[in-house]
Amino acid sequence: MRFGPAEAPVVMIALPPFEEANRLRALAVTVARRLGEQGLGAAIPDLPGTGESMIDIAATRPADWQQAFAAASASIGENRLIASLRAGALFDGDDGAIGHWRLTPQDGAKLLRELIRTRIAGLREDGREASTATLTEAAMRDGIELSGHWLTPALFGDLEQAVPPPVHPLRTVRLGGDIQPADHLIEAAPLWRRAEPSNDLHLAQILADDIADWVKTCRAG
């Protein structure tokens, strides 16, 4: 999916894996359109195994996402900035980009923790007990289904270690209330926490404006 004028710098938007991709897609598309209105191009690459297919993701590892994203980026040309959302930051490393922008970057261990926590809550609702320890053990031994996605032991293990790659220049944006380090805080609700996919046009505009400014800064620097 590519938006905007043909000759303009392009913002590559990295969606997070799994369920949050669905929750943030509409927002990402709106951000892309707003960027287009500011004379910038935007693209939202589809990553292997992040669609509906359970078969695809069983064979996927973060390195595959990194490669797929890098390939999509390279095909865009030199004039590009990478904007990642949440755990999209895990595979947004791109030496050829003019800069990076991250919204609430999330590391792999935290991502897994959330998926496992959701699983435990679901099991408890069925009257079954589970713990992070037992589920992790099962995952590393046999693989595990979390939030409708099958994670092989390899994928699970990779994610446990995965952290966003060091990139520069980088601008990190978070939402108000988040106490982790950030270059900028935006007062908005975290769309990725809502059970149903939704959108936030106001937030999309704010994010697009921030990204566009950062593109200018990176080009000037």
């Binding site: 959330e114 926590r117 679901g122 975290p190 059970a195």
Partner: protein
């Protein structure tokens, strides 16, 4: 409640904000939550998936870690119980 440690209001505000943001409830509605307002089992928005989101968001906003075995029906039963839990973790 007796004398509350400093920071209690911020923690309570954070709990309201998390419920508002994760469950998609209006600010007016969360502002009306009192200590005895029932949560899990009473709020349709707070199902088990939403519980996971609430706990994780509380961790991020308050800089705390919530272990599996600390999560029981009691701490989610009312707004007061959840707030007391959050305060004990954040300020205790």
């Amino acid at each position: 409640m007796g004398l509350l440690p400093e920071g209690s209001q911020q923690v309570e505000d954070a709990v309201r904000a998390v419920l508002r943001d994760v469950l998609g409830i209006s600010q007016d509605r969360v502002d009306a939550f009192a200590a005895e307002t029932p949560l899990f089992g009473a709020l349709p928005e707070l199902d088990s998936m939403a519980v996971a989101g609430v706990l994780t968001e509380l961790e991020d906003r308050l800089g705390i870690i919530i272990e599996d075995d600390e999560v029981d029906g009691e701490m989610l039963e009312t707004f007061g119980a959840l707030t007391r839990f959050a305060m004990a973790k954040a300020l205790g």
